[in-house]
Each structure stands twice: as structure tokens, then as C-alpha cells.
């Protein structure tokens, strides 16, 4: 216990990292389920259905399948770089999540705030530093496979990610100017308050253009439809990860979802008020919202268990609905209720953005490569630059007027 008392930062951080990694990896697995379900319903299909109730065991089955598949290395591949690439992609994607505050800093254990792993003074800069390295995973995977299609995919994606990174960064600078800080918690605190006591004072309202630019660039940066040219299957087989099999392929897959998650978290923090509630504080009855939501879900699941499910699915549903009931009831306890508010709103916003991501994928066709490039450089970049200039002028205007 001496060590714990001497190094509270080290020990608490390690515990937080382990818990966060476990939660994130589970979330990533279920995001694949979420995406397949939503896209299926958009296309009038059922999606994963047979493995467990509502296909809820599908991610587990997929994970096992990836683990037991043969791990091939193409002849002539650069072995070291070939193995390094998926590790780079996944570890960089996961590292960014350490900087994300999932709730207010007030919730503390041993004097350390629990809902963020590392509260860095220049959090935004570090997120960009880590994500800017993300290109290596894709580019090196394409190069080291010693194969034509992956090389083309890797080249395309490097060009695309470099191009859109510029607009991505520029679209966020407007928010930094408004907030006057690079620290995530301070940025969120700065968005507290309401216009006319009703509409939250979030950065999305003055920075709506910045938000649209950010989200468009972010979809391109994470190589998602309609900007998924690096893995355009009709042209490039599967792009940079064509030659990867087994768990190395799964790592690229997880990295893509982790990047989506990071981007959604960042949008929530910068534009949507992070863990702040969208409704005025005087509406105290909204504190019961997490409990009511979970109990509602539990009731639906119990109904499902009794009326529809058969066999193993029924056992599984009993477990899940008991879990939902217990957590829902726990949310009624005053202490839990006050702790859960921040993470609840944060995760709700992130979930909505993730749904938006999947919705885009289900709706839009893919761009052509020259369209992609000219859109990035000739439309997105000038618009985000103009947004930045206007924001800076509005910010400086009172100073100029006072001096004159």
C-alpha cells in the first residue's frame, strides 16, 4: 500500500487505463454489430440475427473466427513493417481516447479525477499529434504487402489523409479561438450557459460551418463512406489491407472504429458541449432520464424474453435484461445519479454522432478520386479558412473598436 500512497497518479492512471481499454474494446466490437444492424434496417434487411438474441453474440463469434483463422504473410513482404503496421494503426487509435474527458473532473478517487485518463493542458494539440501519425499504419500496410492493389490503396489513403487533415485542423481552430484554451475540460466549461435561458451556449451555434467542415473532413480522415477510396472494393479489392488476414485484419478493423469513436468524441467536446446537459439546470426531473431510459429498455427486453425468444437466446436475454434492470435501479440512487449525469449526456451525443456516421454510409455513394481531391482542396479548405478568418475578426472586433 506504500507504493499506492506514494504514487497515486501512476496507480490510479493504470487502473483507469485498464478499465477504459476493456470498455473501449467491448464497445468497438459492438459498434460493428450496431453498424451492421443500422445499415441492414436502412436497406430493409434484418442484419445479424442468428447468433444470440438480436444477433448480440455476433461480435464474439467474429472475434473467435478472426483468432482461429490462418495468419498469412505474403512472400516478398517486408516482414517487420508488415507486422508493425496494424500495431501502429490500432495503438495510435486507442491512445487518443486517453485524452477524452467522459465526464466532469469533479468525480474523484484518491484526488485523481476518474472520468479522464490524462487531463493534458494542451489536450487538443496532443490528439492532433497522435492522429497525424495515423497515416503510417495505412501507408506502411499498403507498402509492405508487396502487392499492387494494397500499394495503390496505401498511396491513395496517404494522399487523402494528408489533404483532409489540413481542413480538419483548420475547422477546429475557430473553436479554439472562441474557447481561448486547448484543454478539453476548460473548453467544455466555457460552453456552459444558455441563450434566452433555453438554447445551450454550445460552440456549434456560432461555429456551424466549422462543425460541418470538421465532420466532413473527419469522415474522409477515417476513410469512411463516401470517402472510403483507400478500400474501394470495386477498384482495389480491399485496398491497403488486402493481404492481411486473421487478427491483423481485425486490428485494422478495430482501429477504424476506434478512430470513428475518437472523431465523434472530439466533435462532442468541441462543438456539442461535451458532458453538459442540453437542457436548463432548473429542469431537475431530467436527472431521472438515465434510469428511466435503462428501465424502459429493461421492460422491452423482459417482454422480448417472455414473448419472442427461444432456447439459448432466452438465457442470454434474461442475463441482459437483469443487468439493465439492476443498473437502471442503481441510477435511481442519489450518488450514482449525480455521477452518471455527465457520462450519460456525453455518451448519448457520441452515440448520436456514431449513428450519423452509419446513416451516411447507408445513404451516400462513393466519390470518384478526382472529385474527392478537388472537393477537399477547392471547397473544404477555402470554406474552413474563411470560417477561421471571420471568427478571428469577430473575436478581435471589440478590441479594434476600443483602440480606434
Amino acid at each position: 500500500m506504500d507504493f499506492v500512497a506514494q504514487h497515486p497518479v501512476l496507480v490510479v492512471s493504470l487502473v483507469k487505463i485498464v478499465i477504459l481499454l476493456f470498455l473501449i474494446l467491448t464497445t468497438l466490437a459492438y459498434l460493428t454489430w450496431f453498424e451492421r444492424k443500422v445499415v441492414a434496417h436502412i436497406q430493409s434487411r434484418w442484419g445479424p440475427y442468428y447468433v444470440g438474441a438480436h444477433g448480440l453474440l455476433q461480435p464474439l463469434a467474429d472475434g473467435l473466427k478472426f483468432l482461429f483463422k490462418e495468419d498469412l504473410t505474403p512472400p516478398g513482404a517486408d516482414k517487420f513493417v508488415y507486422i508493425l503496421a496494424p500495431f501502429l494503426a490500432l495503438s495510435l487509435a486507442l491512445t487518443t481516447l486517453a485524452l477524452i474527458p467522459f465526464g466532469p473532473p469533479g468525480v474523484q478517487v484518491l484526488g485523481q479525477s476518474t472520468l479522464i485518463v490524462a487531463n493534458v493542458d494542451i489536450g487538443l494539440m496532443f490528439v492532433f499529434a497522435i492522429t497525424s501519425m495515423g497515416v503510417y499504419g495505412v501507408a506502411l500496410a499498403g507498402w509492405s504487402s508487396n502487392s499492387k492493389y494494397p500499394l495503390l490503396g496505401g498511396l491513395r489513403s496517404s494522399a487523402q489523409m494528408i489533404s483532409y487533415e489540413v481542413s480538419l485542423t483548420l475547422s477546429v481552430v475557430g473553436v479554439v479561438l472562441l474557447a481561448g484554451t486547448l484543454n478539453f475540460n476548460e473548453m467544455i466549461e466555457g460552453q456552459r450557459g444558455y441563450y434566452w435561458h433555453l438554447i445551450p451556449r454550445w460552440h456549434i451555434i456560432p461555429q456551424i460551418i466549422g462543425f460541418l467542415c470538421y465532420f466532413t473532413a473527419a469522415i474522409a480522415e477515417t476513410n469512411r463512406v463516401p470517402f472510403d477510396l483507400p478500400e474501394a472494393e470495386t477498384e482495389l479489392v480491399a485496398g491497403f489491407h488486402t493481404e492481411y488476414s486473421s487478427f491483423k485484419f481485425a486490428m485494422f478493423f478495430m482501429a477504424e472504429y476506434a478512430n470513428m469513436l475518437t472523431v465523434a468524441c472530439l466533435a462532442t467536446i468541441l462543438f456539442l458541449g461535451g458532458w453538459l446537459s442540453p437542457f436548463p439546470d432548473s429542469w431537475t426531473f431530467l436527472q431521472y432520464l438515465p434510469a428511466v431510459g435503462l428501465l424502459g429498455l429493461a421492460i422491452y427486453l423482459w417482454y422480448d424474453t417472455v414473448m419472442l425468444a427461444r432456447g439459448i437466446a432466452r438465457v442470454q436475454l434474461v442475463v441482459i435484461s437483469t443487468g439493465a434492470t439492476v443498473i437502471g435501479l442503481a441510477c435511481l440512487h442519489p450518488v450514482v445519479m449525480s455521477v452518471i449525469q455527465g457520462p450519460f449526456w456525453f455518451l448519448l451525443k457520441v452515440g448520436l454522432l456514431m449513428f450519423f456516421y452509419v446513416w451516411t454510409r447507408g445513404t451516400l455513394p462513393r466519390f470518384r478520386y478526382d472529385q474527392l481531391m478537388s472537393f477537399g482542396w477547392k471547397f473544404l479548405l477555402p470554406v474552413s479558412l474563411a470560417n477561421l478568418v471571420v471568427t478571428a475578426l469577430v473575436k478581435v472586433w471589440p478590441l479594434l473598436v476600443n483602440h480606434g
Binding site: D78, V81, V120, D121, I122, M125, F126, F128, A129, I130, S132, M133, V135, Y136, A139, L140, G142, W143, L151, G154, L155, S158, A159, I162, E165, L182
Partner: protein
């Protein structure tokens, strides 16, 4: 041995090792990756000095932008493995002693100057190092002219590259 001291030695060793790999690797991509390694360990050294902002910028600009372009160009040109030549005689007889001399001179300077002492006591320097806010205040007030002059210089370089790359019509 304090924790920053251990981290310093690990990063210093990685930086030197990466620099050696950069020269010795025969595959161009491996050389580029070694340089990325050097950049990242330098960024960690900046962090040890308490210069968070510089560390982040080091990674964004060098590792995240410049080296990505290097890797991109190497991939685009599909550069093969380097061929080894017989090293030049000049390098052997003049370069080696001169290099050793430079190394000794640097070591001597480090050992006897205030800067060397500051770098060695990283934790002390961290307290005095400027925060991002102070850094930007200095940059945009005291050093505004050199800062803007540099940005114009870079702009000219970009325009120059465009002019050179443009084909004659």
C-alpha cells in the same frame, strides 16, 4: 535514479539508435521510419523539459506531416534497396577525425555551460518553461516581426515550388 532521468536515458538511446539506423538501413522506407523514431524521442525529450507545446508541434509537423510526405514519395517512386559503394577515402581519413572532434567539442561545451546543467536537471527546467499561453504571448508581441517574416519566407518557398513545378505551355 529519478523517473525523468530513466526516461531521458531511454529516449536518448532510442534517438541515437534511430539516427544510426537512418544511415545504416538499406531500404529507404526503413531509413524514413528510423527518422520518425528520432523525431518522436526528441518530442519526449521536449516533454521532459516541460515544453508541452513544442513537443506536440514536433510530432505534428515532423513526424505527422514532413515524414509522411517522405514515406509517400518513397512509396510513389517505389525506390529499391540502396546499393553499397566503396566508401570514399576522404570520409575515412578526414571525416572520422573531424566527426570525433565535433563530438568532443559538444561534450565539452555541454559539461561547462549553464545550458548543459539545465538539460541535465530536466525537472528544474520544467518549472521555468513557458506554458502555451506565455509562449504565444511572446511570439505575437515581442517576436512578432521575425515570426511574420518567417511565415512570408515559407509562403515564398511554396510559391517558388509551384512555379518550378508548373509545366511550360
Amino acid at each position: 535514479m529519478s523517473l525523468p532521468f530513466i526516461v531521458f536515458f531511454i529516449c536518448a538511446l532510442v534517438a541515437v539508435g534511430g539516427a544510426l539506423m537512418l544511415i545504416l538501413a538499406r531500404e529507404p522506407i526503413h531509413s524514413a521510419l528510423s527518422l520518425v523514431l528520432v523525431m518522436i524521442s526528441l518530442a519526449v525529450l521536449y516533454l521532459l523539459l516541460g515544453a508541452e507545446f513544442i513537443a506536440a508541434v514536433q510530432i505534428i509537423v515532423y513526424a505527422g506531416a514532413i515524414m509522411v510526405l517522405f514515406v509517400f514519395v518513397i512509396m510513389l517512386l517505389n525506390a529499391g534497396i540502396e546499393e553499397r559503394t566503396d566508401y570514399s577515402k576522404l570520409a575515412k581519413y578526414a571525416g572520422l577525425p573531424l566527426g570525433m572532434f565535433l563530438l568532443l567539442e559538444l561534450a565539452h561545451w555541454m559539461a561547462h555551460s549553464a545550458v548543459g546543467a539545465t538539460i541535465a536537471n530536466g525537472s528544474e527546467a520544467a518549472n521555468t518553461a513557458a506554458s502555451t499561453r506565455e509562449l504565444s504571448t511572446q511570439l505575437f508581441q515581442k517576436y512578432l516581426f521575425p515570426f511574420e517574416a518567417t511565415s512570408i519566407l515559407i509562403l515564398i518557398a511554396i510559391l517558388g515550388a509551384l512555379v518550378l513545378a508548373k509545366k511550360d505551355e
